[in-house]
Protein backbone atom coordinates (compact mmCIF):
# COMPACT_ATOMS: atom_id res chain seq x y z
CA UNK A 1 0.00 0.00 0.00
CA UNK A 2 1.37 3.42 -1.00
CA UNK A 3 -0.82 5.55 1.25
CA UNK A 4 -0.08 8.96 2.59
CA UNK A 5 1.94 7.68 5.55
CA UNK A 6 3.22 4.50 3.92
CA UNK A 7 6.72 4.67 5.36
CA UNK A 8 5.67 5.33 8.92
CA UNK A 9 6.48 2.69 11.48
CA UNK A 10 4.54 3.96 14.46
CA UNK A 11 6.54 1.71 16.76
CA UNK A 12 9.75 3.46 15.66
CA UNK A 13 8.11 6.84 16.09
CA UNK A 14 6.96 5.97 19.61
CA UNK A 15 10.42 4.72 20.56
CA UNK A 16 12.09 7.81 19.09
CA UNK A 17 9.65 10.07 20.92
CA UNK A 18 10.40 8.24 24.15
CA UNK A 19 14.15 8.69 23.56
CA UNK A 20 13.74 12.39 22.83
CA UNK A 21 11.65 12.89 25.96
CA UNK A 22 14.15 10.93 28.03
CA UNK A 23 17.08 13.00 26.70
CA UNK A 24 15.12 16.19 27.29
CA UNK A 25 14.04 15.28 30.82
CA UNK A 26 17.46 14.00 31.88
CA UNK A 27 19.42 16.85 30.37
CA UNK A 28 16.97 19.52 31.57
CA UNK A 29 17.12 18.21 35.13
CA UNK A 30 20.92 18.15 35.13
CA UNK A 31 21.06 21.52 33.39
CA UNK A 32 18.99 23.06 36.17
CA UNK A 33 20.95 21.27 38.91
CA UNK A 34 24.24 22.58 37.50
CA UNK A 35 23.10 25.83 35.86
CA UNK A 36 21.10 27.26 38.76
CA UNK A 37 23.99 27.33 41.27
CA UNK A 38 26.28 28.52 38.48
CA UNK A 39 23.88 31.38 37.71
CA UNK A 40 23.63 32.28 41.40
CA UNK A 41 27.45 32.23 41.62
CA UNK A 42 27.72 34.48 38.56
CA UNK A 43 25.30 36.91 40.20
CA UNK A 44 26.85 36.88 43.67
CA UNK A 45 30.42 37.35 42.44
CA UNK A 46 29.50 40.38 40.32
CA UNK A 47 30.61 43.82 41.58
CA UNK A 48 28.74 45.15 44.66
CA UNK A 49 27.16 41.77 45.43
CA UNK A 50 27.69 39.55 48.47
CA UNK A 51 30.67 37.60 47.11
CA UNK A 52 31.96 40.31 44.80
CA UNK A 53 35.18 39.02 43.24
CA UNK A 54 36.56 40.18 39.96
CA UNK A 55 38.74 37.03 39.64
CA UNK A 56 36.06 34.42 40.36
CA UNK A 57 33.45 36.23 38.30
CA UNK A 58 35.93 36.54 35.45
CA UNK A 59 36.80 32.82 35.45
CA UNK A 60 33.15 31.73 35.61
CA UNK A 61 32.28 34.17 32.87
CA UNK A 62 34.99 32.91 30.53
CA UNK A 63 34.02 29.25 31.05
CA UNK A 64 30.39 30.05 30.39
CA UNK A 65 31.20 32.16 27.33
CA UNK A 66 33.50 29.53 25.82
CA UNK A 67 30.88 26.80 26.16
CA UNK A 68 28.20 29.10 24.77
CA UNK A 69 30.24 30.25 21.80
CA UNK A 70 30.82 26.72 20.47
CA UNK A 71 28.13 25.63 18.03
CA UNK A 72 26.36 22.67 19.59
CA UNK A 73 27.29 20.31 16.77
CA UNK A 74 30.98 21.02 17.47
CA UNK A 75 30.49 20.59 21.20
CA UNK A 76 28.96 17.17 20.52
CA UNK A 77 32.09 15.98 18.75
CA UNK A 78 34.65 17.70 20.95
CA UNK A 79 33.10 16.21 24.07
CA UNK A 80 33.10 12.58 22.89
CA UNK A 81 36.22 11.65 24.93
CA UNK A 82 34.81 13.40 28.01
CA UNK A 83 31.51 11.60 27.59
CA UNK A 84 33.27 8.24 27.23
CA UNK A 85 35.24 8.90 30.39
CA UNK A 86 32.17 10.00 32.34
CA UNK A 87 29.46 7.54 31.29
CA UNK A 88 31.31 4.87 29.31
CA UNK A 89 29.52 5.47 26.00
CA UNK A 90 29.03 8.34 23.61
CA UNK A 91 25.96 6.72 22.05
CA UNK A 92 22.27 6.61 22.87
CA UNK A 93 20.30 8.67 25.35
CA UNK A 94 22.92 8.34 28.06
CA UNK A 95 25.78 9.36 25.79
CA UNK A 96 23.87 12.43 24.60
CA UNK A 97 23.22 13.82 28.04
CA UNK A 98 26.78 14.97 28.72
CA UNK A 99 27.08 17.25 25.67
CA UNK A 100 23.47 18.39 26.04
CA UNK A 101 24.11 19.54 29.59
CA UNK A 102 27.47 21.05 28.66
CA UNK A 103 25.70 23.09 25.98
CA UNK A 104 22.59 24.05 27.95
CA UNK A 105 23.86 24.62 31.52
CA UNK A 106 26.00 27.70 30.72
CA UNK A 107 23.14 29.13 28.64
CA UNK A 108 20.70 28.56 31.50
CA UNK A 109 23.18 29.97 34.04
CA UNK A 110 23.40 33.26 32.11
CA UNK A 111 19.63 33.50 31.95
CA UNK A 112 19.42 32.85 35.70
CA UNK A 113 22.03 35.55 36.34
CA UNK A 114 19.96 37.97 34.25
CA UNK A 115 16.77 37.04 36.12
CA UNK A 116 18.52 37.64 39.47
CA UNK A 117 19.73 41.05 38.32
CA UNK A 118 16.09 42.01 37.85
CA UNK A 119 15.50 41.63 41.59
CA UNK A 120 14.99 45.07 43.11
CA UNK A 121 18.21 46.39 44.70
CA UNK A 122 16.33 47.94 47.63
CA UNK A 123 14.69 44.59 48.36
CA UNK A 124 18.09 42.92 48.51
CA UNK A 125 19.35 45.62 50.87
CA UNK A 126 16.23 45.42 53.00
CA UNK A 127 16.76 41.67 53.40
CA UNK A 128 20.45 42.15 54.25
CA UNK A 129 19.43 44.85 56.75
CA UNK A 130 17.44 42.24 58.70
CA UNK A 131 20.70 40.38 59.44
CA UNK A 132 20.32 37.78 56.68
CA UNK A 133 23.24 35.56 55.68
CA UNK A 134 24.05 35.20 52.00
CA UNK A 135 22.36 31.80 52.15
CA UNK A 136 19.20 33.42 53.56
CA UNK A 137 19.40 36.07 50.90
CA UNK A 138 19.57 33.49 48.10
CA UNK A 139 16.97 31.07 49.43
CA UNK A 140 14.49 33.48 50.99
CA UNK A 141 14.75 36.46 48.66
CA UNK A 142 16.67 36.10 45.40
CA UNK A 143 15.27 32.78 44.20
CA UNK A 144 11.64 33.40 45.23
CA UNK A 145 11.72 36.91 43.74
CA UNK A 146 13.31 35.71 40.51
CA UNK A 147 11.20 32.54 40.26
CA UNK A 148 9.03 33.67 37.32
CA UNK A 149 12.18 34.74 35.46
CA UNK A 150 13.90 31.46 36.29
CA UNK A 151 10.92 29.45 35.06
CA UNK A 152 10.92 31.46 31.84
CA UNK A 153 14.66 30.76 31.55
CA UNK A 154 14.05 27.03 32.07
CA UNK A 155 11.39 27.13 29.34
CA UNK A 156 13.71 28.79 26.84
CA UNK A 157 16.44 26.31 27.80
CA UNK A 158 14.12 23.32 27.44
CA UNK A 159 13.17 24.45 23.94
CA UNK A 160 16.83 24.93 23.04
CA UNK A 161 17.43 21.41 24.35
CA UNK A 162 14.74 20.02 22.04
CA UNK A 163 16.69 21.32 19.08
CA UNK A 164 19.97 20.10 20.60
CA UNK A 165 18.50 16.58 21.01
CA UNK A 166 17.64 16.58 17.33
CA UNK A 167 21.25 17.45 16.50
CA UNK A 168 22.50 14.87 18.95
CA UNK A 169 20.42 12.39 16.97
CA UNK A 170 22.78 12.93 14.05
CA UNK A 171 25.71 11.53 16.00
CA UNK A 172 24.00 8.46 17.34
CA UNK A 173 21.87 9.65 20.20
CA UNK A 174 18.58 8.32 18.83
CA UNK A 175 15.31 10.14 19.19
CA UNK A 176 13.17 12.06 16.72
CA UNK A 177 16.10 13.93 15.21
CA UNK A 178 17.84 10.67 14.43
CA UNK A 179 14.68 9.35 12.77
CA UNK A 180 14.25 12.49 10.71
CA UNK A 181 17.83 12.35 9.45
CA UNK A 182 18.06 8.61 8.78
CA UNK A 183 14.67 8.10 7.14
CA UNK A 184 13.41 11.51 6.22
CA UNK A 185 16.63 12.90 4.81
CA UNK A 186 18.91 10.03 3.85
CA UNK A 187 16.13 7.77 2.46
CA UNK A 188 13.88 10.55 1.12
CA UNK A 189 10.92 9.39 3.20
CA UNK A 190 9.24 12.77 3.39
CA UNK A 191 6.34 11.50 5.45
CA UNK A 192 8.72 10.42 8.24
CA UNK A 193 10.29 13.86 8.12
CA UNK A 194 6.90 15.53 8.34
CA UNK A 195 5.71 13.41 11.25
CA UNK A 196 8.89 13.99 13.27
CA UNK A 197 8.81 17.70 12.56
CA UNK A 198 5.17 17.89 13.63
CA UNK A 199 6.00 16.04 16.83
CA UNK A 200 8.93 18.37 17.56
CA UNK A 201 6.75 21.42 16.96
CA UNK A 202 4.05 20.00 19.24
CA UNK A 203 6.67 19.36 21.93
CA UNK A 204 7.99 22.92 21.73
CA UNK A 205 4.46 24.34 21.85
CA UNK A 206 3.66 22.22 24.87
CA UNK A 207 6.80 23.32 26.69
CA UNK A 208 6.10 26.99 25.96
CA UNK A 209 2.51 26.73 27.15
CA UNK A 210 3.53 24.93 30.32
CA UNK A 211 6.27 27.47 30.98
CA UNK A 212 3.97 30.44 30.40
CA UNK A 213 1.36 28.98 32.70
CA UNK A 214 3.89 28.42 35.48
CA UNK A 215 5.30 31.93 35.07
CA UNK A 216 1.80 33.36 35.46
CA UNK A 217 1.13 31.10 38.45
CA UNK A 218 4.19 32.47 40.29
CA UNK A 219 4.04 36.15 39.26
CA UNK A 220 2.96 38.48 42.06
CA UNK A 221 3.95 41.84 40.66
Amino acid sequence: MTGLLANIDWGDIAAATRDTLAMLAGSLLLTIIIGLPLGVALFLTAPRQAWASRAVHGVLSVVVNVLRSLPFIILLIVLIPVTLALVGTSLGVVGAIVPLVAGAAPFFARLVETALREVDRTTIEAVLATGATTRDLVLRALLPEALPGIIAAATVTAIALVSYTAMAGAVGAGGLGDLAIRYGYQRFQTDVMVVTVVLLIALVQLLQMLGDRLVRRFSRR
Binding site: V127, A129, P144, F218
Partner: protein, 323 residues
Protein backbone atom coordinates in the same frame (compact mmCIF):
# COMPACT_ATOMS: atom_id res chain seq x y z
CA UNK B 1 23.16 55.57 71.43
CA UNK B 2 24.79 56.52 68.14
CA UNK B 3 28.08 58.36 67.81
CA UNK B 4 29.73 59.48 64.59
CA UNK B 5 33.28 60.77 64.90
CA UNK B 6 34.89 62.47 61.93
CA UNK B 7 33.17 60.12 59.50
CA UNK B 8 34.30 60.19 55.89
CA UNK B 9 32.91 58.17 53.01
CA UNK B 10 34.30 58.13 49.51
CA UNK B 11 32.96 55.82 46.80
CA UNK B 12 35.89 54.32 44.94
CA UNK B 13 39.40 55.74 44.75
CA UNK B 14 39.42 59.26 43.39
CA UNK B 15 35.66 59.60 43.78
CA UNK B 16 34.13 62.67 45.40
CA UNK B 17 33.48 62.42 49.13
CA UNK B 18 29.84 61.60 49.89
CA UNK B 19 30.55 62.39 53.55
CA UNK B 20 33.36 64.74 54.55
CA UNK B 21 33.89 64.70 58.30
CA UNK B 22 30.57 64.15 60.04
CA UNK B 23 30.32 64.33 63.84
CA UNK B 24 26.97 63.47 65.40
CA UNK B 25 25.60 62.25 68.70
CA UNK B 26 22.16 60.72 68.80
CA UNK B 27 20.70 60.03 72.25
CA UNK B 28 18.74 56.97 73.30
CA UNK B 29 14.99 57.39 72.82
CA UNK B 30 15.02 60.49 70.62
CA UNK B 31 13.72 61.02 67.11
CA UNK B 32 16.66 62.47 65.26
CA UNK B 33 16.09 64.01 61.86
CA UNK B 34 18.69 64.35 59.14
CA UNK B 35 17.60 66.75 56.45
CA UNK B 36 19.31 67.77 53.26
CA UNK B 37 18.88 68.06 49.55
CA UNK B 38 19.14 65.16 47.15
CA UNK B 39 22.76 64.03 46.96
CA UNK B 40 23.74 65.60 50.30
CA UNK B 41 24.83 62.21 51.63
CA UNK B 42 21.82 61.36 53.81
CA UNK B 43 21.36 57.80 52.60
CA UNK B 44 25.08 57.16 52.79
CA UNK B 45 25.10 58.39 56.38
CA UNK B 46 22.19 56.25 57.52
CA UNK B 47 23.54 53.18 55.69
CA UNK B 48 26.73 53.43 57.72
CA UNK B 49 24.69 52.88 60.87
CA UNK B 50 23.79 49.28 60.01
CA UNK B 51 26.89 48.52 58.01
CA UNK B 52 25.29 48.49 54.56
CA UNK B 53 28.14 50.89 53.81
CA UNK B 54 31.56 51.13 55.51
CA UNK B 55 33.19 54.45 56.36
CA UNK B 56 36.49 55.26 54.65
CA UNK B 57 37.48 57.32 57.70
CA UNK B 58 36.35 58.06 61.23
CA UNK B 59 34.30 55.98 63.64
CA UNK B 60 30.66 54.87 63.67
CA UNK B 61 29.51 53.57 67.04
CA UNK B 62 26.01 52.17 67.52
CA UNK B 63 24.96 51.14 71.02
CA UNK B 64 28.57 50.80 72.10
CA UNK B 65 29.79 48.76 69.11
CA UNK B 66 32.13 50.09 66.48
CA UNK B 67 30.28 49.13 63.31
CA UNK B 68 33.30 49.17 61.01
CA UNK B 69 35.18 46.75 63.28
CA UNK B 70 32.48 44.05 63.19
CA UNK B 71 33.01 40.77 61.34
CA UNK B 72 30.19 39.28 59.25
CA UNK B 73 28.54 37.53 62.21
CA UNK B 74 28.83 40.62 64.40
CA UNK B 75 27.29 42.72 61.66
CA UNK B 76 24.33 40.35 61.36
CA UNK B 77 23.81 40.50 65.14
CA UNK B 78 23.88 44.31 65.01
CA UNK B 79 21.37 44.36 62.16
CA UNK B 80 18.92 42.37 64.28
CA UNK B 81 19.09 45.28 66.77
CA UNK B 82 18.74 48.02 64.14
CA UNK B 83 15.64 48.07 61.94
CA UNK B 84 15.52 49.90 58.62
CA UNK B 85 12.70 51.33 56.52
CA UNK B 86 13.14 52.41 52.89
CA UNK B 87 11.55 54.96 50.58
CA UNK B 88 10.66 52.31 47.99
CA UNK B 89 9.69 49.82 50.75
CA UNK B 90 12.00 46.96 49.67
CA UNK B 91 9.34 44.32 50.21
CA UNK B 92 9.52 40.87 48.68
CA UNK B 93 6.93 40.97 45.91
CA UNK B 94 6.74 37.17 46.05
CA UNK B 95 5.75 37.10 49.72
CA UNK B 96 2.55 38.11 51.54
CA UNK B 97 2.51 40.91 54.09
CA UNK B 98 2.74 38.32 56.87
CA UNK B 99 5.65 36.50 55.18
CA UNK B 100 7.49 39.79 54.64
CA UNK B 101 7.13 40.62 58.33
CA UNK B 102 8.22 37.09 59.26
CA UNK B 103 11.47 37.34 57.28
CA UNK B 104 13.72 38.81 60.01
CA UNK B 105 12.32 36.27 62.49
CA UNK B 106 13.07 33.38 60.14
CA UNK B 107 16.51 34.83 59.53
CA UNK B 108 16.93 34.85 63.33
CA UNK B 109 15.97 31.13 63.32
CA UNK B 110 12.96 31.56 65.61
CA UNK B 111 10.68 28.50 65.93
CA UNK B 112 7.65 28.61 63.60
CA UNK B 113 5.13 29.05 66.42
CA UNK B 114 7.01 32.02 67.83
CA UNK B 115 7.25 33.55 64.34
CA UNK B 116 3.50 33.20 63.81
CA UNK B 117 2.68 34.75 67.20
CA UNK B 118 5.03 37.69 66.70
CA UNK B 119 3.75 38.33 63.16
CA UNK B 120 0.17 38.48 64.42
CA UNK B 121 1.24 40.94 67.10
CA UNK B 122 3.11 43.13 64.58
CA UNK B 123 0.24 43.13 62.08
CA UNK B 124 -1.94 44.48 64.90
CA UNK B 125 0.65 47.07 65.88
CA UNK B 126 0.70 48.60 62.38
CA UNK B 127 -3.02 48.11 61.77
CA UNK B 128 -2.80 45.51 59.00
CA UNK B 129 -4.46 42.52 60.63
CA UNK B 130 -6.95 42.23 57.76
CA UNK B 131 -4.26 42.35 55.11
CA UNK B 132 -1.98 39.56 56.36
CA UNK B 133 -2.34 37.39 53.26
CA UNK B 134 -2.13 40.11 50.63
CA UNK B 135 0.87 40.51 48.36
CA UNK B 136 2.58 43.93 48.15
CA UNK B 137 1.07 44.51 44.69
CA UNK B 138 -2.37 44.36 46.36
CA UNK B 139 -1.52 46.98 49.00
CA UNK B 140 -1.52 50.81 48.89
CA UNK B 141 1.70 52.75 49.41
CA UNK B 142 0.84 53.52 53.01
CA UNK B 143 0.02 49.88 53.70
CA UNK B 144 3.27 48.77 52.07
CA UNK B 145 5.23 51.11 54.30
CA UNK B 146 3.40 49.76 57.34
CA UNK B 147 4.55 46.29 56.31
CA UNK B 148 8.07 47.72 55.97
CA UNK B 149 7.86 49.22 59.46
CA UNK B 150 6.48 46.00 60.96
CA UNK B 151 9.32 44.05 59.31
CA UNK B 152 11.87 46.52 60.69
CA UNK B 153 10.41 46.10 64.19
CA UNK B 154 10.08 42.31 64.09
CA UNK B 155 13.22 41.51 66.08
CA UNK B 156 12.47 44.21 68.68
CA UNK B 157 15.34 46.52 67.67
CA UNK B 158 16.39 49.49 69.78
CA UNK B 159 17.07 51.67 66.76
CA UNK B 160 14.90 52.33 63.73
CA UNK B 161 16.46 53.89 60.62
CA UNK B 162 14.05 55.52 58.17
CA UNK B 163 15.49 56.55 54.80
CA UNK B 164 12.89 58.86 53.22
CA UNK B 165 10.23 56.53 54.59
CA UNK B 166 7.41 58.86 53.57
CA UNK B 167 8.82 60.41 50.40
CA UNK B 168 6.86 58.07 48.13
CA UNK B 169 3.57 58.72 49.94
CA UNK B 170 0.84 61.33 49.53
CA UNK B 171 0.50 64.04 52.24
CA UNK B 172 -2.37 62.33 54.07
CA UNK B 173 -0.58 58.94 54.17
CA UNK B 174 2.64 60.70 55.11
CA UNK B 175 0.94 62.15 58.19
CA UNK B 176 -0.42 58.71 59.15
CA UNK B 177 2.93 56.98 58.78
CA UNK B 178 4.72 59.78 60.69
CA UNK B 179 2.12 59.51 63.45
CA UNK B 180 2.86 55.78 63.63
CA UNK B 181 6.60 56.48 63.83
CA UNK B 182 6.06 59.05 66.61
CA UNK B 183 3.88 56.56 68.49
CA UNK B 184 6.58 53.88 68.24
CA UNK B 185 9.09 56.31 69.69
CA UNK B 186 6.73 57.22 72.54
CA UNK B 187 5.41 53.74 73.33
CA UNK B 188 8.45 51.55 72.71
CA UNK B 189 11.16 54.07 73.56
CA UNK B 190 12.69 53.39 70.15
CA UNK B 191 15.59 55.57 69.03
CA UNK B 192 14.69 56.76 65.54
CA UNK B 193 16.94 58.23 62.86
CA UNK B 194 14.80 59.80 60.21
CA UNK B 195 16.17 60.91 56.87
CA UNK B 196 14.15 63.38 54.84
CA UNK B 197 14.36 66.26 52.42
CA UNK B 198 11.11 67.78 53.73
CA UNK B 199 11.19 70.20 56.63
CA UNK B 200 7.54 69.37 57.40
CA UNK B 201 8.57 65.83 58.32
CA UNK B 202 11.13 67.24 60.75
CA UNK B 203 8.52 69.56 62.25
CA UNK B 204 6.03 66.79 62.73
CA UNK B 205 8.11 64.11 64.48
CA UNK B 206 11.69 65.06 65.24
CA UNK B 207 13.19 66.11 68.57
CA UNK B 208 16.52 67.17 67.13
CA UNK B 209 17.74 67.65 63.61
CA UNK B 210 21.00 67.89 61.69
CA UNK B 211 21.18 69.70 58.38
CA UNK B 212 23.43 67.95 55.88
CA UNK B 213 24.89 69.76 52.87
CA UNK B 214 27.42 68.19 50.50
CA UNK B 215 28.60 65.65 53.05
CA UNK B 216 28.87 67.98 56.06
CA UNK B 217 26.62 68.80 58.99
CA UNK B 218 26.10 72.56 58.71
CA UNK B 219 23.59 72.95 61.52
CA UNK B 220 22.52 70.69 64.33
CA UNK B 221 20.26 71.12 67.35
CA UNK B 222 16.74 70.95 68.80
CA UNK B 223 14.09 71.27 66.09
CA UNK B 224 12.67 74.48 67.63
CA UNK B 225 16.07 76.18 67.41
CA UNK B 226 16.92 75.03 63.91
CA UNK B 227 13.49 75.58 62.38
CA UNK B 228 12.56 78.82 64.16
CA UNK B 229 15.97 80.41 64.14
CA UNK B 230 17.99 78.94 61.27
CA UNK B 231 21.65 80.01 61.24
CA UNK B 232 22.96 78.50 58.04
CA UNK B 233 22.01 79.48 54.50
CA UNK B 234 21.29 75.84 53.63
CA UNK B 235 18.74 75.57 56.45
CA UNK B 236 17.08 78.80 55.34
CA UNK B 237 16.97 77.47 51.80
CA UNK B 238 15.31 74.25 52.96
CA UNK B 239 12.76 76.31 54.90
CA UNK B 240 12.20 78.50 51.86
CA UNK B 241 11.55 75.39 49.78
CA UNK B 242 8.62 74.74 52.09
CA UNK B 243 7.16 78.19 51.39
CA UNK B 244 8.62 80.05 54.37
CA UNK B 245 10.07 83.08 52.61
CA UNK B 246 8.68 86.42 53.65
CA UNK B 247 8.39 88.18 50.32
CA UNK B 248 5.57 90.56 51.20
CA UNK B 249 7.84 92.13 53.85
CA UNK B 250 9.85 93.79 51.11
CA UNK B 251 6.99 96.12 50.20
CA UNK B 252 6.18 97.40 53.68
CA UNK B 253 6.99 101.05 54.41
CA UNK B 254 7.82 100.75 58.09
CA UNK B 255 9.76 98.54 60.44
CA UNK B 256 9.61 94.82 59.69
CA UNK B 257 10.28 92.27 62.44
CA UNK B 258 10.26 88.52 62.54
CA UNK B 259 8.42 87.37 65.65
CA UNK B 260 8.63 83.80 66.91
CA UNK B 261 6.55 82.21 69.66
CA UNK B 262 6.88 78.67 70.94
CA UNK B 263 4.62 76.88 73.43
CA UNK B 264 1.52 78.19 75.26
CA UNK B 265 2.30 81.78 74.17
CA UNK B 266 0.95 80.93 70.69
CA UNK B 267 -2.69 81.05 71.86
CA UNK B 268 -2.29 84.34 73.76
CA UNK B 269 -3.62 87.57 72.14
CA UNK B 270 -0.10 89.01 72.05
CA UNK B 271 -0.41 91.19 68.97
CA UNK B 272 -3.61 93.02 69.94
CA UNK B 273 -2.25 93.64 73.43
CA UNK B 274 0.98 95.08 72.07
CA UNK B 275 -0.94 97.25 69.61
CA UNK B 276 -3.25 98.56 72.32
CA UNK B 277 -0.48 99.22 74.83
CA UNK B 278 1.84 101.05 72.43
CA UNK B 279 -0.48 102.62 69.89
CA UNK B 280 1.48 100.91 67.09
CA UNK B 281 -0.38 99.51 64.07
CA UNK B 282 0.70 95.97 63.39
CA UNK B 283 0.37 94.35 59.95
CA UNK B 284 0.86 90.61 59.54
CA UNK B 285 2.97 90.28 56.38
CA UNK B 286 3.66 86.58 56.48
CA UNK B 287 3.33 83.85 58.99
CA UNK B 288 2.72 80.36 60.02
CA UNK B 289 1.13 78.81 63.10
CA UNK B 290 1.94 75.14 63.48
CA UNK B 291 3.39 72.49 65.73
CA UNK B 292 6.84 71.13 66.32
CA UNK B 293 6.03 67.57 67.27
CA UNK B 294 3.39 68.32 69.93
CA UNK B 295 4.40 71.87 70.86
CA UNK B 296 2.63 74.74 69.09
CA UNK B 297 4.69 77.50 67.52
CA UNK B 298 4.00 80.64 65.59
CA UNK B 299 6.33 82.52 63.34
CA UNK B 300 5.12 85.83 61.98
CA UNK B 301 6.60 88.58 59.89
CA UNK B 302 5.11 91.80 61.28
CA UNK B 303 5.09 95.34 59.97
CA UNK B 304 5.18 98.00 62.71
CA UNK B 305 4.11 101.58 61.98
CA UNK B 306 3.05 104.55 64.11
CA UNK B 307 2.92 104.89 67.89
CA UNK B 308 5.90 103.84 69.99
CA UNK B 309 7.60 101.30 67.68
CA UNK B 310 10.53 100.75 70.04
CA UNK B 311 8.15 99.94 72.92
CA UNK B 312 6.19 97.60 70.65
CA UNK B 313 9.41 95.74 69.81
CA UNK B 314 10.29 95.46 73.47
CA UNK B 315 6.84 94.19 74.41
CA UNK B 316 6.88 91.61 71.63
CA UNK B 317 10.27 90.44 72.84
CA UNK B 318 8.74 89.75 76.24
CA UNK B 319 6.41 87.17 74.62
CA UNK B 320 8.76 85.56 72.13
CA UNK B 321 11.83 86.16 70.06
CA UNK B 322 12.13 89.22 67.86
CA UNK B 323 14.59 89.48 65.03
Amino acid sequence: MIVLDGVHKRFGPGGAAALAGVDLRIARGEVFGIIGRSGAGKSTLVRLLNGLERPTGGRVVVDGTDVAALDAAGLRALRARVGMVFQSFGLLSSATAAANIALPLRVARLPAAAVAARVTELLGLVGLTDHADKYPAQLSGGQKQRVGIARALATRPEVLLCDEATSALDPETTREVLALIAALNRDLGLTIVLITHEIDVVRQVCDRVAVLATGRVVENGPVADVVLDPQHAETRALLADAGEAATTALRFAGEVVRFTMHGAEVAAPVISRVARATGTDISILDGRIGALRDTPYGQLTLGLAGGDVAAARALLAAHGRVA
